[in-house]
């Protein structure tokens, strides 16, 4: 049961093979038995989950079930959940219980999905390994000494270790795609504005986007159907009709124009990963796609631009955590300044402090033009490069990451080397484009992801490509457990 995809679980529930309560209990048992070695979950909500499962079974008997009704999932602990702790991986919010639901969790609950709990992440989503979490790192099911990627690492682990059939993630610079790649699952970051950010704790507001993390592209399509859509509570969400993402999955890929940016295959890319990508591309060629080399000349500038813009936004997004209204407050503050400095000093971890300082510096008078404004100009140019490239090709393919998952602690002393790992993913966030990572091979026993970047609101095409690839390959069926 626990190796089934969402689609398979849906038919199992439909045929009465098992109930939602049985299914939910099976996952809860598994979490209880196994999660101590993965540390995928920060909070497990067994009682609530079983109640939701019971309601889902009742809904099914009443003939009102949708395709996702009764299927369990896990939420990245960045999505606010009414009545359940939302920590964002930080000591700062270790005591925080939101009085409201994020639109994403609300929509998935409306669809009848059962929430098993909240998954681990890098503190405030700042990181690529979950190592910055206040709750300790999560461990990669393919090799427990290695990181699962991040920031949505707990969600990726939960799916890869079969602690949940699917999970939500968020992606500011690759935080869905990179852990999906490291853990051998499918993850899609939709177009900026496609999924509401309401109730999703902000890191870099102009970059953050929620999305599904699943075993297959079909599952991602099913989940995105429930997650996507305009939300009046998020001014940056786009009022555009949501297609049924499962409808185009089976379209043939004949004539698909694939672009391979030469900058994504240069120095710095692990040659074995390059080989995996090349063979995946060959697979698409055999399915009738055409391939051409393209150029994204400002790829090198994406990291510096991102590491100005995201920290700048983060530095002010995180100002609200001041110990005044909720969250961590230091003991016996002597005055206001003491309250602020000690509450924030104690509540935030090193990586968060580092980014707050970078962002504060970049926005300061006298530096704004040299850093923030310049980074925004770069962002515009990077966007232009992508728009030009997507005139010539339908999708851009390449590796999701330059190397497979590293060993926990290996990069602890060199944060910049971690930043450089984001090189292939952050451009899609800067440009606002949708990007997907699907499993396409292994290097030294660790999974490798193929990244597919498409045009704005072309999620259907990305999922179609993912599904077709998964119809003719079996990388996505490999299980770590």
């Amino acid at each position: 049961m626990i190796n089934k995809t969402l689609a398979e679980l849906a038919s199992g529930l439909d045929s009465g093979e098992f109930s939602s309560v049985e299914l939910t209990q099976a996952y809860l048992d598994r979490i209880q038995a196994e999660d101590s070695k993965y540390n995928a979950f920060i909070t497990v909500t067994a009682t609530e989950a079983l109640a939701q499962a019971k309601a889902a079974d009742a809904r099914r008997s009443a003939g009102k079930a949708g395709p996702l009704t009764g299927i369990p999932l896990a939420h990245k602990d960045i999505f606010c959940t009414a009545g359940v702790k939302t920590s964002c991986g930080s000591k700062m919010l270790d005591n925080f219980i939101a009085p409201y639901d994020a639109t994403v969790t609300h929509n998935l609950a409306e669809a009848g999905m059962v929430s098993l709990g909240k998954t681990n992440l890098d503190e405030f989503a700042m990181g690529s390994s979950t190592e910055s979490s206040y709750y300790g790192p999560s461990h990669n099911p393919w090799d427990l000494t290695r990181v699962p990627g991040g920031s949505s690492g707990g969600s990726a682990v939960a799916v890869a270790a079969r602690l949940a059939p699917a999970a939500t993630g968020t992606d500011t610079g690759g935080s869905i795609r990179q852990p999906a790649s490291f853990c051998g699952i499918t993850g899609i970051k939709p177009t900026y504005g496609r999924v509401s950010r309401w109730g999703m704790i902000a890191y870099g507001s102009s970059l953050d986007q929620g999305g599904p993390m699943t075993q297959t592209a079909l599952d991602a399509a099913m989940m995105l159907n429930a997650m996507a859509g305009f939300d009046a509570k998020d001014s940056t969400s786009v009022n555009k009709e949501v297609p049924d993402y499962t409808l185009r999955l089976n379209e043939p890929l004949k004539g698909l124009r694939i672009g391979l940016p030469k900058e994504y295959f240069g120095a710095g890319l692990n040659p074995d990963i390059a080989a995996c990508i090349q063979s995946a591309v060959k697979q698409f060629e055999s399915m009738g796609a055409t391939v051409k080399e393209i150029s994204l000349p400002r790829t090198d500038l994406a990291i510096p631009a991102y590491y100005i813009i995201a920290p700048a936004e983060a530095s002010t997004n995180l100002s609200r955590y001041d110990g005044v209204r909720y969250g961590h407050r230091c003991d016996s503050p002597v005055d206001l300044f003491d309250l602020y400095t000690r509450s924030r000093g104690e509540g935030f971890g090193d990586e968060v402090k580092r980014r707050i300082m970078i962002g504060t510096y970049a926005l300061s008078a006298g530096y704004y033009d040299a850093y923030y404004r310049k980074a925004q100009q770069l962002r515009r140019l990077i966007k232009n490069d992508f728009e030009a490239a997507l005139q010539e090709v339908d999708v851009i393919m390449g590796p999701t990451t330059p190397a497979p998952a590293w060993v926990v602690g290996e990069k602890a002393k060199d944060p910049v080397s971690v930043y450089l790992e984001d090189i292939y993913t952050i451009s899609a966030n800067l440009a606002g484009l949708p990007g997907m990572s699907i499993p396409c091979g292994f290097v030294d026993g660790m999974p490798v992801g193929l990244q597919v970047i498409g045009n704005y609101f072309d999620e259907s095409l990305l999922l179609n490509i993912g599904h077709q690839f998964q119809q003719s390959t079996d990388w996505h069926t490999k299980s770590a457990v």
Partner: protein
């Protein structure tokens, strides 16, 4: 030494929207602390602002009223600083692309001239909450009801030359916002607050002197006093060879002085940058036209109309038109009385005096415009004298009823019957032979005595005009 004063004003106008500028919480004044603050106002994790279209509508109306450029694309920015009553750690405001660009207002000076004051800009922003220091011993309370209340900050050019001009400017802004009904303009409740930037320089000096900003002055009278205090302070310092320190000061109304605000930070770096949670506001021509079509007659236009339509003086027209309800009241009085001059005299004279004395707004007047108009009619048709009218007016103020009822109840009908008055006059002459002789021998001043006697005899009811005429005639008669 001669000094030139330069004043610029920043006026914060609280827009009268039902809900806050970025949330659905109510904006009503005076609610129990923190009962009108939702998750957005509290700056909870993951919440997002949504711009209130009504605030936009009201800001554009103001822009049109001061003949300003409307920003076709305006952008919200974050102004970052830490304070307990600023829940997000930043205020959402507008920096480089305000909703209202350069405009102007005309102010009426005491010497009867009109001065044009340029308005640099007006931008939308959210208000902060309130820190309550008094009620909590050793602690500070935070009330976030006001957090997120929409404000329009109106910034003038430094073109005002004295405190009186500053007040005239403020009154004109107040008049415009209440005409447009975009704000209740209630200064006591903080719906309109003013920061004044004051500096002085030698006449002809092209460089502005160092300025001081006086924060949050909440009445016209205090603005005038605070500015005058500040001007004298500057003059004293400079004439003693000192230097002005650029700083923010607070006006203490009780001591009538300004004081340097205690502030630990030397200079705040607000780290402004575009608010990523909100899209730029794009306004098209049709939207502006739509608002333009619903604009009411504004004070300047109304004043001009009062001059031409009713033949009022510039001064009277300006005073009446400055207040929308007073202007409407006046026009309602005229509609009944059919006499603009008498109506303006009564409205600006007796009525305004009593309203001011009792601290009442025009809308709270116990005397309806129609009743006042009727009273004026009764003067015009000689039913009562001007003096009787004062008695009737007082009766109306005290709630004794409609003017005709009071006239009847108090028996105030004026005696206009010539033969009756002649008889009274005859009686007065007969009763005062000595005075009559003196008068006739040239002591003209005694005429008043006879009028008084006649009015007394008629118990005040004889028409004073007729008494005059008949007395003159009879005293000269022989």
């Amino acid at each position: 030494m001669e000094w030139e004063v330069v004043i610029g004003l920043e006026v914060h106008v609280q827009l009268a929207t039902k809900t806050k500028i970025f949330s659905g919480a109510a904006t009503k004044f005076g609610a129990a602390p923190n009962t009108q603050a939702c998750a957005i106002d509290l700056g909870m994790p993951g919440v997002l602002p949504v711009f209130n279209g009504d605030a936009l509508h009201k800001a554009v109306a103001f822009g049109l009223a001061i003949d300003a450029e409307i920003g076709k694309r305006s952008v919200f920015d974050r102004k970052n600083y830490f304070y307990p009553d600023l829940p997000k750690g930043y205020q959402i405001t507008q920096m480089d692309h305000p909703i209202v660009g350069m405009g102007h207002v005309d102010i009426n000076l005491d010497d009867g001239t009109v001065k044009r004051v340029n308005v640099t800009r007006a931008h939308l922003e959210e208000d902060a909450g309130k820190s309550l220091h008094e009620e909590f011993e050793g602690m500070t309370g935070v009330d976030l009801n006001r957090a997120g209340t929409p404000l329009l900050e109106v910034v003038s050019e430094p073109e005002l030359s004295n405190a009186k001009e500053a007040v005239a400017y403020l009154k004109k802004i107040h008049s415009i916002i209440t005409y447009l009904e975009i704000s209740d303009g209630n200064m006591a409740e903080g719906s309109m607050r003013c920061d004044a930037n004051v500096s002085i320089r030698r006449p002809g000096d092209p460089v502005l002197g160092t300025r001081c900003e006086i924060k949050n002055v909440n009445s016209f009278r205090f603005v005038e006093k605070a500015i005058n205090y500040e001007i004298l302070r500057h003059i004293e310092i400079l004439e003693d060879g000192g230097k002005i320190v650029q700083e923010t000061r607070l006006y203490d109304a009780e001591k009538d002085e300004t004081r340097s605000m205690r502030s630990k930070e030397v200079a705040n770096d607000y780290r402004y940058f575009p608010e990523p949670d909100l899209l730029p506001v794009i306004i098209d021509h049709d939207f502006i036209e739509q608002i333009a079509a619903t604009m009411p007659e504004l004070p300047d236009a109304k004043s001009a109309r009062f001059i031409t339509q009713y033949g009022l003086s510039d001064y009277d027209a300006n005073v009446l038109a400055a207040n929308k309800t007073l202007a409407q009241y006046f026009e309602d009085v005229v509609a009944t009385s059919q006499d603009a001059k008498l109506s303006s005299n009564w409205v600006m004279g007796d009525l305004s005096a009593l309203l001011n004395k009792n601290n009442l707004e025009t809308a709270q007047s116990p005397i309806s415009a129609q009743d006042l108009g009727t009273l004026i009619l009764r003067i015009k048709d000689n039913t009562i004298s001007g003096r009787m009218a004062k008695t009737v007016f007082e009766g109306m103020w005290d709630g004794e009823g409609a003017p005709d009822d009071i006239i009847a109840a108090k028996g105030l009908k004026q005696v206009t019957d010539n033969s009756a008055i002649e008889k009274i006059v005859d009686d007065v002459i007969a009763a005062n032979p000595e005075q009559v002789a003196e008068y006739r021998s040239g002591k003209d001043k005694l005429f008043g005595f006879f009028v008084g006697q006649a009015m007394k005899l008629s118990r005040g009811q004889a028409s004073p005009g007729q008494v005059n005429d008949i007395l003159k005639q009879k005293l000269q008669g022989e």
